[in-house]
Every structure is written in structure tokens, then in C-alpha cells.
């Protein structure tokens, strides 16, 4: 279970996160909503250790992990699917997946190469293709598959459906549902707030570096006006 307390992050002098308190409970799907420019990606980058916060804490299972390097955070059992996918263009699909293969922190090996193939049939048809030869949707699936190969306890998906065709988008949400069903906690950032709320147990809305609305996803679905005010114009 990951928690942040009063997290403040700056880019130079630009104060992006202004005291973020958030909880990501174990085996729970959490949504992070908000217009762009509000700090969602900065929040994730701070969590993962790519950016050091100026003040505040990041806690993992009660342990202070603030400022831990991304590879240490990953070894805690976090699978990160970044915005822009980040697959290795010079490695083949097979290589991208195999290099990430690892047993989970608790020893589990639910997600094997075969299972990832079964989940993403399109990838199994392109195993020897180079990363940069894949379409956007295939790259996204590869990025998700690669994170799954590490058997994480928490998957972070930042704008996983951005710029993809509707059919591919639907498939990705299907995969997200499957991941959730296997008991992996998720943190999902996506523009489609309705889909996010349907696929999560809890959700938070970020405005100008602060969480201004949070609660159970079902509750929030019943407050469309509050959401429209924060996500719309």
C-alpha cells in the first residue's frame, strides 16, 4: 500500500504539486483524474522516484521510500506503464518482454510469457518485430505486457489509451479489467473519466497540484456535476 503525505514537487521554481495527500491501498484499483497540466504525471513521476519532492513523504507499506530511485521503487513491486509507452525500439517484442521477466515480490509468478501472449494475441504474431515497427496500439500493449512480466503488486497506467483507435482502446480496458481481476492494484490516469470510474474502486481528482475531490468510484459516478466542474470548462 502506497501513501503520500503533503507531497510538494517543483520543476525549477514552478510549484507543481502543492501538498498532495493520497492513498493507494493494496489490491485496489484507484483512478486519478484531472485536466492536463494539473500535475497528474508529476505526481506519478514523484512516486516512482524520477523526480525528488521538495518536501513531503512517500510511504510504501509504512516504510519511508521518499526519494528512492526508480529502480528501487520498481523492485518494491510497481509496474509502470508511462505516458508515451517507453518500449525499447531497438529490441524485438520478445526481447522487450523477456528482459523484464521476474518473479513478484511475494514470489508469485502469475504472469508468465505464455500468459502475456494469451492476453495480447496480436503481440504473439509479432514476436520478432522490432519495437519501432509496431503500431501505437501494439506498442501500448507491449508496454503493459512488459510491466506485467515483472509480476507487480501495483500497476501504474498513465494515459494508456491516448491517441489510439476505439477498438484498441476497448481492448486495453478489457486488459485492465483482467489485471484487476488477478488482484493487482492499479493506479489509472485516463481522459475518459467514465471508463476510469467503472474500472476502479476509488478515485481522486487533481486540480492545480492538489487533490480536491476523492472517494469511492461509485459515489463519484453519482456526482457528475462535481466532476464536470473539475474536468470540463
Amino acid at each position: 500500500m502506497i501513501e503520500t503525505r503533503e507531497l510538494n514537487t517543483y520543476y525549477g521554481d514552478s510549484h507543481i504539486l502543492r501538498g498532495v495527500d493520497a492513498q493507494l491501498p493494496g489490491a485496489t484499483a484507484v483512478g486519478l483524474l484531472g485536466r492536463n497540466g494539473m500535475g497528474k504525471t508529476t505526481f506519478i513521476r514523484t512516486l516512482m522516484g524520477y523526480v525528488r519532492p521538495a518536501s513531503g513523504q512517500v510511504l510504501a507499506d509504512g516504510r519511508n521510500v521518499t526519494g528512492w530511485a526508480p529502480e528501487r521503487m520498481a523492485r518494491l513491486g510497481i509496474g509502470y506503464v508511462p505516458e508515451g509507452r517507453g518500449i525499447f525500439p531497438n529490441l524485438s517484442v520478445r526481447e522487450n518482454l523477456v528482459m523484464a521477466a521476474r518473479a513478484g515480490v511475494d514470489g508469485r509468478r502469475d504472469w508468465t510469457f505464455e500468459r502475456v501472449m494469451a492476453t495480447f494475441p496480436r503481440l504473439s504474431e509479432r514476436l520478432s518485430h522490432g519495437g519501432q515497427q509496431l503500431s501505437g496500439g501494439e506498442q501500448q500493449m507491449l508496454s503493459i505486457g512488459r510491466a506485467l512480466m515483472t509480476n507487480p503488486r501495483l500497476m501504474i497506467l498513465d494515459e494508456a489509451t491516448e491517441g489510439l483507435a476505439p477498438l484498441v482502446v476497448a481492448e486495453i480496458w478489457r486488459v485492465i479489467a483482467e489485471i484487476r481481476a488477478t488482484g493487482i492494484a492499479t493506479l489509472i490516469v485516463d481522459r475518459d473519466w467514465r471508463k476510469v470510474l467503472h474500472h476502479t474502486d476509488r478515485a481522486m481528482v487533481m486540480e492545480k497540484g492538489l487533490i480536491t475531490l476523492a472517494g469511492g468510484s461509485a459515489e463519484l459516478l453519482a456526482q457528475p456535476e462535481a466532476l464536470a466542474q473539475r474536468l470540463g470548462v
Binding site: R35, N36, G37
Partner: protein, 254 residues
Amino acid sequence: MSDNADALLKVDGLTRRFGGLVAVGSVSLDLRVGEVHAVIGTNGAGKSTLINMLSGEIAASEGRIALERSDITALAQPRRALAGVGRSYQRNTIFAEFTVLENCRLAAQAATPRPWAFWESAARCAASNQAAHEAMEAAGLTAEAQRIAGTMSHGAKRQLEVAMCLATRPRVLLLDEPLAGMGAEETERMLALLSRLKASHAILLVEHDMDAVFRIADRITVMVNGTVIATGAPESIRTNPEVRTAYLGDEVPA
């Protein structure tokens, strides 16, 4: 669309392609003195590419940009700036190691460059000093003139970023997220500055802070996936069903 005979900057069918990707597709808009024209949009809408084409940092694949009926589409950024198009950046480009006055004076020097007059002192250039003082005053930074820019608060630095655009006395201001990373108080001060500048400039504002946009903008253009889906007065944008759909998805609640 109402007549834009008094538009200072007129953008017509501006398009930018990167290979097969159309980052900006046939965008038309105009900027008028006395107006703040905000450009908003979701992620990847093409706002950055658009502002980079307007400032001259990226070439347009198609389309035309006219400044008071003069075609400036082919002008590179420095020439365009001297013609009257100023730009502020999302991340500060101020000279942190110089004083506020030196920042504005150096910016103003672009108008009277005299690079070959190596025996003359830059600090004594009357024209540059004059323009610098005017810019500092317009931005409310006169009191900080001797302060090293890098030691100021974030809000003040962002104001300097805008002030430096003013030093060459441009008539068009392209402001890229001037409120980025600002708290409530700093936002107020910046909005007050923009209100003051509005009277004598044509301002394009790219911003994510919706509250601020709706307070200060006279007109708003909404971009999605590189194209304009709506342009108009703030209220009409707020109630525009296509805009709601773009931000909130289909089947939007009443």
C-alpha cells in the same frame, strides 16, 4: 464569424504535419488589440505546435499568418519578433544572472542592435534604457530593477518573462502558460498584469487554468487533435455541447 478588419494578427488555415501525423490541421483565428484570446484544449491538442508556428520557431506546412496585412509566414523568429510578435515561454527564459534592468535592457537592445559599434557602452544605450524602464513599469517590476533576476520569487520571475517580451514594444503577445506552477496570489498578480496589458496589445493565451481563462479571456478557441472545434465568447464555449463532449466524453449530463 464577425468581421476581422481590425484584427492585428490574422491566422489562416495554419497546418503542420510531421510525416503522416497532422499536429495542427487548418487552424484559423485572429488576435485583436484590446483582447485576450485564449487557446485551450485537451492533451495533444496541438497548442504547443500552434504557438511555435505563430512565434516562428517551427515552419508551417500550409497556411498564412498576417500581421496587419503583412504576410509574416516566412519570417524566422528573430525577424518576426522585431516585426512585433513577442513570446513568453512555459519555462522561464530570463537571464537569471543579470539584474532585472539588465534583462529588460538587453531584450530592448534588439530594436537598436548596432553590433558594429564596439566602442559604445551597452549600458549607456539611451533607447534601450528607456524601453527597459517602460517595460519594467508596465510589468510592475520597477522596484526590483537592481535585483538579480534569479533571486526573485517564482511569480516575479514569470512577470519578468512577460516584461522582457514588452521591451521591444511588440503589439502581439503570445503567452505560453504564464500561470504554470503558480499559487493563488501569484495568479492574481499575473492576471492583473495581463488585464493592464490587454488595452494596448493583442494577446494570445495558452493556459490550463480554466478559472483564470474564463476570468480574463474575451474570446476562447478550443482545439482537439489539432483542429479547432469552437471559437467564441467564454459563455458560448462553456455551454457548447461539442466542447463538453471533448472534455467530458459522450452522453454528457445536463
